[in-house]
Symmetry: C3
Subunit: 152 residues, 3 copies
């Protein structure tokens, strides 16, 4: 139930809020990469001189490897974390056992933390794909669980 | 109300969970397209030899038509389905009649299924735009309905 | 609590629904830009002659400044508004005072309205970044507030 006295809901809330902080934090990682590189801008008006950009140069609108990496991490978050928010909530509303909530909800957080580490530090495709797969399969499992519980 | 004994909430849960499965499934369609084409990768480290990529080639980082199509479908999902999740939930909480929930919530699922078919099989822009428009207008209608019910 | 008689929940519902209308409306701004410019298409099949495109030309698949601006605005929405939906809901469930809900939830709406104005009219990077920062910091604050309330 939606009640902070229910341990399952509390676990969901913590996992969902950590996901919020990850998504928002990735936006700031992109900002930080753009400031550090002085590059990776995407809007023509960002070449006007100002506090953010004292000495504009047209090359600043070209893709920058570090900034693009942060954007890809952000896009991957958006492909996975919002679906987790709704699947996780509906899963919790079906009244699952605490062990399943701990395993699946905190397992998703751990898998996405691993994905962020693997992507941010350019680990191998295999390593990144493994963390992606675990996180994605957990969301699918949450959704199938909730769908079955809803229809039964 | 948020209660699986309420048929309106159950319809919402089914529609929302089908949306979750669509979003997550599209990620796997992109993976499948990348594996089948051996192309469409986006990160430099994906050119390191490994289980996923035995014989790397720089051309694998160029856009691949099939992979890009799946990514566009995914982006379109993210532009529509998360907004449906929250608009649908708030709509359901206003206590709508069952016929309206069936029509709008399952209508959205049907429109997005049509959009996926039209986009995945490269039907005409007109066909794809029709399914997009129906889905988008349903989400707007759900939001306006809930907004009016909230403010009254 | 999730109850339209609770003023805090009502404020959340209004803010979340305005966010839904913004996200969906941005999709229609992209459609409008594509129709007005007759350009900015992204799928090869959009070059088939039809009601939307009477006289196709390969240049229509190249990026168009006005259409790309709308797409960037949409992407920025998706990086911020879905996280607001879930952080705002969990914040509301912790039973915050009405003044905090008004300030943070309606503050987010105001910040995103400012961001849309700044981005849509190509104001300086500094102006746009200020609105982005206020909106993003509010979502982070909502999440931290809810996380602390959950764990206490």
């Amino acid at each position: 139930m939606i009640d902070f006295n229910d341990p399952v809901f509390t676990i969901y809330a913590v996992a969902a809020l950590l996901g919020v902080l990850k998504v928002m934090g990735q936006g700031w990682m992109t900002v930080r990469a753009m400031m550090a590189e002085g590059a990776g801008y995407v809007s023509p008006e960002d070449l006007r001189p100002g506090a953010i950009n004292a000495s504009p140069d047209p090359s600043q609108l070209e893709p920058n490897a570090r900034v693009e990496r942060s954007r890809r991490m952000h896009r991957n978050d958006l492909e996975n974390i919002p679906a987790f928010w709704v699947a996780g909530l509906l899963f919790v509303l079906t009244g699952p056992p605490v062990w399943a909530a701990v395993l699946l909800l905190l397992g998703f957080v751990a898998a996405r933390a691993g994905h962020a580490w693997a992507y941010g530090t350019a680990q191998s495709h295999e390593t990144r794909a493994t963390f992606y797969s675990v996180g994605s399969l957990i969301v699918i499992l949450l959704a199938v669980w909730a769908l079955i519980a809803t229809l039964l």
